[in-house]
Amino acid sequence: MDESGGSSDIEYTNIDAAADAIDCSTIFHLVTDIVGFILFMHQQIPSLLQDITLEFDGLRSEFKELEIELAESEPKAPLIRRKLAARKREVKLGIRRLEKLMGCISNLKAALQLLVAEVPNIDKISLVLGPSPLRPLHIFELNFSNGRPFLEGFSRSKTTETLSRKAIRMMISKGIGSDSYPGPTKLFLLVKAPSYLNLPLHFLPKREFRPNRKTKPFRLRFRCRTQNPEMNPQHNDFASSVKLQHSPSTDLICNETAFFSLFAAAEFTNVVRVFIELESKEFRKSKRRHLSEKPAPAKSSDGAKMKFQIEDITVYFPYDNIYPEQYSYMLELKRALDAKGHCLLEMPTGTGKTIALLSLITSYVLAKPSNPVKLLYCTRTVHEMEKTLAELRFLHDFQVKELGPSARILALGLSSRKNLCVNPRVVSAENRDSVDAACRKLTASWVRETAIENPNVPKCDFFESYEKAASDAVLPPGVYTLQDLRAFGKQKGWCPYFLARRMVQFANVVVYSYQYLLDPKVAGIISKEMQRETVVVFDEAHNIDNVCIEALSVNVRTQTLDGASRNLSRMSQEIERLDLNLNFLSLFLHKSFGIIPPVRRLKATDAGRLRAEYNRLVDGLAQRGDLPTGNTWLANPALPDDILKEAVPGNIRRAEHFLSVLRRFVQYLKGRMQTENVEKEGPVTFVASINSQVGIDQKMLKFCYDRLHSLMLTLEITDTDEFLHIQTICDLATLVGTYTRGFSIIIEPFDERMPHIPDPVLQLCCHDASLAIKPVFERFQSVVITSGTLSPIDLYPRLLNFNPVVSRSFTISLTRDCICPMVLTRGSDQLPVSTKYDLRSDPGVEKNYGKLLLEMASVVPDGIVCFFVSYSYMDGIVNSWHESGILKEIMKHKLVFIETHDVVETTLALDNYRRACDSGRGAVFFSVARGKVAEGIDFDRHYGRLVIMFGIPFQYTLSRILLARLEYLRETFQIKEGDFLTFDALRQAAQCVGRVIRSKADYGMMIFADKRYSRHDKRSKLPSWILSHLRDAHLNLSTDMAVHIAREFLRKMAQPYDKSGAMGKRTLLSQEDLEKMVNGVEEMVF
């Protein structure tokens, strides 16, 4: 984009200041000048900032004069008065036109002034121009050399004047564009500085600013005279990063409040928003850990635990009591295991699914040790993984106590390097990909080979000692959480990640993430060698179809293509380097590094390596098995059965040829993405058009990924995070080449919500969830899919295309009616409420929703969670509540927190929400269905006494991907569009409201606020545990009735209750009860 500005690339443009040091006022004036310049150059403001200021002041003074004149001219002729009044109106119009802009700019100035005065040391100021700071059009970075004493006052000095003139001249000479963009463009001002504790409260922390790589920043550095001129940028960076580690720093946003900034952004187009950013990691770490109440029945650490028979299996259950539904769950599960088939079980949250599963399966293994041999337990998040392992440990301790050491098993969790690495240098990298790359830099086989000869090459001590221990490096039996693995690794000095990866083959129980089984790229490495006699459990699997689809979908944007071309050019450089002859290389190495490499090493490094690879490929041994083990980090994105076991086609065997193929492919994609219209086509036509236009046939495409993998290994590339782009492209190529059905390619030139901003995306979307999960069903004898919400339970087998031997839905047995679902169809004025498209922007509906929340806030204690159908709807309705004052009324009762796109901001909001609930202030959390919060965060106990679902969370039905998928589902599985949409929306709704009940001792209300919920076809798709508590009287409520019911319900629930349910319904069974029950009535009634 900004080629001219970014041509200086990593280099800094230096500007030397005449003064000894740059003080605060200089920075302030410099920044305001540059902001004015940029705004003007990018046509965000009509004329120069100074001119505008002058004009504005002039207009204002004229207005005042006119006013006075008008007042004085009372007795004068009406003609003059009319003239004056007309002039006054004109001036007023002019003022109003400029007022908003001037207001923004003066806000910015004030904030900047405050920050400059408050923060001792500013490293960098970035100006980001674009629709959002994450997707910028232009970035300008101003670096300041250190050492500036704080001087009082912000007067403009002469040095400042010259400096800013210099800077602007420099920017003009570098050709900082003078282009204009249609649509809303904002200027973000981000300040990076170390934070300290007593910063004023209105600076809110913000995470590290990291824009996409597409845009190259224009870097400007101001140096003062006294500075050491030899300091290079790298050094500077390093110094600052060291410094940052010492002083925990925080990202700050400066604005009125974070909450209202949201509306500000929505309102203006040419808003100058001020984000003042400091950066922090400390902050995330200090996130309070919330210990949730254990869902399982009353636990006492000692005393009798349960041991009972289910048919021919003795089940060890580590608690004193068991819920009846847990028992029947185990019974069904056992039958499924007996039948060696797959099963689908729905049981509400808070009934102890996890322990029932673990307890039955481990007991089953103990009783029949040959079959099954292994349990693979898939969870969605690391947090759930840890929870599962903790439960398992509890169970394991009990079993060992009962049966002695023969019951010992090995159970461990497996996660990414980010979560398991103990090497302090590696784990400090910020994201997952860079941790992986950092690890590879230390552990790749060629790096280690080099390290043997040159001790200066860094390597990982943990990995080295793990390798040295070789087969001795084993985990003794026991249950290991990630934490335990790290501790064990540290203690032994072995790398926990590689240790865990190896021990997965031997472990009895492995707990890991869905991706390890479903994503073929990962599964190929990790889950390759699992036996058939394995039980696979997918916990919380209500979204499993989406996970499957995502595993096989690829998105390509322009920056991916740019990155891919960069990667390609680097690879060709590498190849050229390798092609240099041996002598020259030796000379080169000797001269530049002072190393005299031995002949053996050189042989491996030179062109011979490429030749060797070529020969290997000719022999058709390109499969992974042939390459050095330990380096297997790329696997085919297609499913194992679909990979052809044959040699790589001849025309891409040579590295140069392969690169040129890729180059042509990238070029082709670039061409396709320049389209003006939305295009949609199947993989077959896509491949055909590739073949005709750039001459790449299907077979070549299919082998792209393997070939790239092989090439990258040959070229000994370790910084894999840099090469993600080309990997994505090859992913796309291989998938397109392999599959002809169930996919479609959609090219959208812009985002539909913002049609003015060109943002082309090429999506390869998979429509068939059964593709990714098929190998899992085929490879393993039993697959258990379980969740709290799987209704309607007959749809999942159709979506995933398998035949379960057992599919059951269990209800929750409760001692009291501790959930109270309600369907609210009317507001207090008896008008229907709905988020239907024609009704959603109706002010009456918005008002009624607001009233509902307000009334509820006044009768419900502690926490209320509200779910909206989308971010845009939430923005709109909250905005209108704010305008009509409802929000203020709500704030009288409870504090309001809001979920945003930004993860850190949301975490902060959640944290404060919990604090407000803890300290009795009460709070409301606004969240979005399908958002992060709806999926992973629990609002149990007082954190969520009430959840309100505003509307039905249908997917965005005009999305091309969805339309394509619906069409596919209709054609292939005969699932009607309406059915699928309703199913998907209601599963989301159930997921949202299910957040409030996490255990039986808990209680909560759920309000479905939409008139459409009262219709049978919608309602009946809710899970049975909600439906069984939804009384007919609660199906058609208005706000005042709902409030009355809420009051009564909360009073009733606040009464003390007997956990075991001594009166009437029994929900906790002791061992004797269970035996009695089994002997008496064989069939349980549920």
């Binding site: 006044s858 204690p861 502690d862 409870k894 300290s919 009460g922 106990r941 007082h942 629930m1053 606040a1054």
Partner: protein, 418 residues
Amino acid sequence: MNKDANFLPESTFKISNEDSICRCIAHEKPKAYSTTLGRVVLDKEEKCLTKRLNTKIVFITQEMQRQRRLRTTTAARIQKGLIRYLYIVIDLSRAAGEMDYKPSRMVVVARQVEAFIREFFDQNPLSQVGLVTLKDGVANSLTSLGGSPESHIKALMGKLTSSGDASLQNGLDLVQSLLNQVPSYGHREVLILYSALSTCDPGEIIETIQKCKASKIRCSVIGLSAELYICKYLCQETGGSYSVALDEFHLKELIFEHAPPPPAIAEFAVANLIKMGFPQRAAEGVISICSCHKEAKVGGGYTCPRCKARVCELPTECQICGLTLVSSPHLARSYHHLFPITPFDDVTPSATNNPNKLPKICFGCQLSLLNPGNMPAPCVSCPKCEQFFCLDCDIYIHESLHNCPGCESFRHSKLVVA
């Protein structure tokens, strides 16, 4: 010194004295009941149906009360705190003006608090009560600790308006600073009647709760609308009880549960001697300056045995020398909490089948135990003296008298025989 030596004999004497008084009352009270019964009989021809209904209702309520009492008095002998310093915190925030209780929450609360204060002093004559209100985000001390029910009730009734937010923290801070001054042998308690559903605090309330816990204040909360986490936490931490009222009747029940003294906290369980004075009543017509009101008063009043100052009412603490002043009936009335009467057994109809053993009259009120038509009415018997009582007497003995007439008279007759 001399007075302390007198302490024990005098109190025991007084107890036996009290017994005789109680016996007298025992014979008066059932009479009141019998008159109402008589009236029912009179109206028999006219309101046959109503009567039956009435008696049935009476019976059911009696039975319910009995059941409840049986449940609470099962644990036989627990050490209990007899000297209690209780602050009642009343929430008069915006939420207290709500009308879900008729006529409004605060009126209902005030009414119940009034009844509670009377009942409280009846059961705990040695204890003291103070009132605190929460309003507009601040806490006000309405009355300081004192032993006179009337002054509290008067102060409370005058201040019934609601506004603003409630701040639990401010309330606790105030109560904590006030209760820190009371002597260490006293049991510090707070009873919070909380209408609001949130608390608007100036600082970290968790710290305040920890402070309360450290100064061993037992905090109990009665909510009027729904369960609030912070209240639950507070009660859990400080060993109090948390309950939420369903309606006015339930609210009364919940408040009255706080009238009998709670079991002593382990730290207080060590027995220690407390210096107490038993002042004499001044002669009628004597004019003296009262130390509590600082004005000259005629007649009545008591004289502190140590410093001879005049105080108006008992129990109190002497303003001059700080001695706790009580009268012996106060001690005696507190005494029964420590030695409750064993609950009476139900007499099943099968046991009464034997016409010889069939009880004819109640030993307490001497009225017939037979319903009209010679049907045996439900009755109970004392497990010790095996005398029969009617249900009215049962309730009266356990709730007011705290002595079993059967056992007492049996002991006396034995003494006489010996």
